[in-house]
């Protein structure tokens, strides 16, 4: 048993110290693409920054709605509210600044508003992808 246990533990890769990836991942959350800039991947960082920021700005200009973490009338509504809030929050400083400057668009009927809401949520989701990518680069799983 002891031999098997040692073999199993030897096969597992060593965990990367948190100090090597925490700063790039945190920077990637606050400013989209910043994690890649810190890791000297400037081209990719610029493309991520441009895509996420433009998507968020288009969402604001289309008067998309920001989700608030509140309980809805049913389980699905609560899930949408909390999930949407997490996605909005994932946009980092873009979300924090827009909230600080008082952006508060109520949910309105209309295709343009609806697209705006989706743009704001997707900007956060794309930033989560960028954070994961920064983590992979920082831990050496990817170039």
């Amino acid at each position: 048993m002891a031999v098997q246990s040692n073999t199993a533990s030897a096969a597992q890769p060593a965990a990367t110290p948190i100090g090597t990836w925490l700063l790039p991942v945190a920077a990637a959350w606050v400013i989209p693409g910043a994690g890649h800039f810190l890791l000297k991947k400037n081209g990719r960082g610029a493309l991520i920054f441009g895509s996420v920021v433009l998507m968020f700005l288009f969402g604001l200009f289309m008067r998309g709605m920001m989700f608030t973490p509140e309980k809805g009338v049913d389980y699905l509504t609560s899930l949408i509210n909390y999930g949407g809030f997490i996605c909005n929050l994932a946009a980092g400083a873009l979300y924090i600044l827009s909230a600080m400057f008082g952006y508060n668009q109520p949910d309105m009927a209309g295709a343009v508003h609806d697209y705006g809401t989706k743009f704001l949520v997707t900007a956060g989701l794309l930033n989560i992808l960028a954070m994961v990518d920064a983590w992979e680069i920082a831990t050496g799983k990817k170039d």
């Binding site: 991520i48 895509s51 604001l60 200009f61 289309m62 343009v112 960028a130 990817k142």
Partner: protein, 61 residues
């Protein structure tokens, strides 16, 4: 703050461009793979946009 009114096509096109760029960058390991996958994603978005658009148009009667 400016307010813009985009058509369905313009909004979906912009969405496709931004999403394809980030998905291409973050999911592949080499630059040619990233470009190919980004273009593939964009093509899929466009195919779905026109395909579902036509299905709705024809289904509406």
């Amino acid at each position: 703050m400016p307010k813009i009114n985009l058509s369905h096509f313009e909004a979906a096109f912009l969405f496709s461009v931004f999403a394809s760029v980030v998905m291409g960058i973050t999911t592949k390991k080499t630059n040619p793979e990233r470009v190919n996958y980004g273009a593939y994603c964009f093509g899929c978005f466009m195919l779905a946009l026109f395909g579902i658009g036509w299905v709705m148009r024809l289904g509406h009667g």
